[in-house]
Symmetry: none
Amino acid sequence: MGAIETMSPAARERAPSGDERRLALTRAAYRLIAARGFEGLRVRDVAADVGVNIATLHYYFPTKEGLIRAVVDHLVGRIVATTTGGTGTAGERLRANLARVRAYMRDDPDLFVVLSELLLRARRDAAIHAALKPSQDDWRAYLRGLLAEGVARGEFRPDLDADGAALAIMAIFKGMTLQLDERALALSAIDAQLDRWLAD
Amino acid sequence: MGAIETMSPAARERAPSGDERRLALTRAAYRLIAARGFEGLRVRDVAADVGVNIATLHYYFPTKEGLIRAVVDHLVGRIVATTTGGTGTAGERLRANLARVRAYMRDDPDLFVVLSELLLRARRDAAIHAALKPSQDDWRAYLRGLLAEGVARGEFRPDLDADGAALAIMAIFKGMTLQLDERALALSAIDAQLDRWLAD
Amino acid sequence: MGAIETMSPAARERAPSGDERRLALTRAAYRLIAARGFEGLRVRDVAADVGVNIATLHYYFPTKEGLIRAVVDHLVGRIVATTTGGTGTAGERLRANLARVRAYMRDDPDLFVVLSELLLRARRDAAIHAALKPSQDDWRAYLRGLLAEGVARGEFRPDLDADGAALAIMAIFKGMTLQLDERALALSAIDAQLDRWLAD
Amino acid sequence: MGAIETMSPAARERAPSGDERRLALTRAAYRLIAARGFEGLRVRDVAADVGVNIATLHYYFPTKEGLIRAVVDHLVGRIVATTTGGTGTAGERLRANLARVRAYMRDDPDLFVVLSELLLRARRDAAIHAALKPSQDDWRAYLRGLLAEGVARGEFRPDLDADGAALAIMAIFKGMTLQLDERALALSAIDAQLDRWLAD
DNA sequence: GATGAATGAGCGTTCATTCAT
DNA sequence: TATGAATGAACGCTCATTCAT
């Protein structure tokens, strides 16, 4: 329901292709993890959400682990899109990147909730760890690069430790998902903090 | 672990009191949540871990939810201990507080893992939210107070937003638990960042 | 028992249809209630009796209560068949009805045992009460109608209270199930009593 | 609570004797069977109802079966009291007996509910059957004797079968407990029927 | 006598997965 | 491809009973 908007008008009525089914199931699982956590994820609910039989779900994803893996990949695909290009000075590109992440948090809060669930699970699940690692490394390398460039060009304070700062920025964003209640407040407050931090 | 020193030496071997049993079960549940997440928490395993029958566990905790609640309270009790007194300037007390939190992360990494699981669950569980909120508010108020005092006394940079900075510090610590692999590295790197941040 | 004659001979060995499974489970539950009472009804035994897994039973009856409800409906279906037509004078039809009930008691003693269990349970279970009420009302109305007709036509003694007599007849049949030992004796003895009672 | 009114004032405050405890427990079990059936009888609830520990209950009744047996005996004791003496003609004594039974049904409806539960259980429980049989036989013999005497003395219709009529009367009373809803109506309606039946 | 604590066996129910069609 | 039906292995919880104190 509403998970197949990207289809061509002609195909909207019937016969979703295998890939579409797979995507619809992945998205449903993603939604359910966001809503109920891994703890509350039931493959039956995922199938019901898409409107297919459980056996059909297992036709596409033989195991629950495989479905979860698809959710991980789905999520990684969205995150990766964040660590690309941009123009302007290092500071501008950094601010643009942080703005993009903040926009994600506003537009699809589920993204960071699911990511948090996955990162927590990665501690005890090597497969998830392996699937998540590259995207985290990419983001970290991207941030570090921008920070180092900014320091080198005198945009940021000279004593800024690019490595530590990159990790700190990532930690702040992840940690905000674990904040109670005033998440919106936290968002803007921390926002200002980051700016000031880099500015000097 | 070390909670029964007040007993007579003779009785140390047998007959743990009701409170001790309750605490042992709570700790076992705490450990299992850290090791396997809420997703993998089984009351049978908790009972087995302590060496009692499932029925005995249910004698102390009629429902699994009650056991989880005990874990929450247990955890909150440890966190609360963090937001107390200290001497010296605001900066010294702040640094001491952060050092204490870092020490917790080093000595009992489970603490923040379980806290993360609980904070994630708090989003969909009002009871856990309510149980966790006060301790989070306390920590935040404590940090904000120290930061405001430090700014007022000229210890910290004058443009520091006490509220935002408090939230940012909390977010960083929480977010570190969601960091992959180089957690030790992250710890010291972010450590330095925080110092420099406040110092100027 | 003889409910699958409509299948093709080749398929008779295997693959009972969903309705057949449902009926087989209902009958097994019916038998077990008769043999052990509600007190001794275990869904595991019902499943084992039919030769399926417990999960299969729950596929058809998500809850034990639902299975019991099916037993109630099954039983009501059989009782309802008793309150239909017939030919001849009111007295003949009444006697025919009572003979049919007596035949039931002889051929399937479980019927009244299960009914008694259900009627007793109906006191504290509104759902069972509601499910049983119509069939009881029907039987009562049927008896009252015949009795009133018989009185009006001079077949029965004129001072017969159709309402009270209908209730008395129903009570006698139900009460016989609660008789110890000499049930066969009771059957014929009371039989004669009823005849004489109406005859005069 | 309210179950020890027969005690002497001095003993009312403390130290209920063993027999009193036993009786209180038996009465509590009796009440619970009436309210929830055998199906819903829990020894824990019986103990709680009396205000003692489960272990204490088991001190007096080592097994649940023993407690139930005590309930049977308690009930039999009350029923037996019904089949004694009386004065006047056979018809007067019979009517007096029936009136006494009707009074029981009005004043303590639980009596027949518990009796019904027990009679149903007697079918599959030899111990209960054996405990109940004498009282049923007594009542039957008492009724048969009165009926035979009444027939011999010309008080009742000459073609009355004393044996069958005794069984029918007992069945009617027992069956009334299994009637839905209009139990009060049934009581008076059947009442009139019995009178008329014997009268002629 | 009385109790707090403990337990073995079992109960209704759930869930990921399988399989014949 | 898709599904209805089936299942093994748990899971949270209950209950009559036991036992040390």
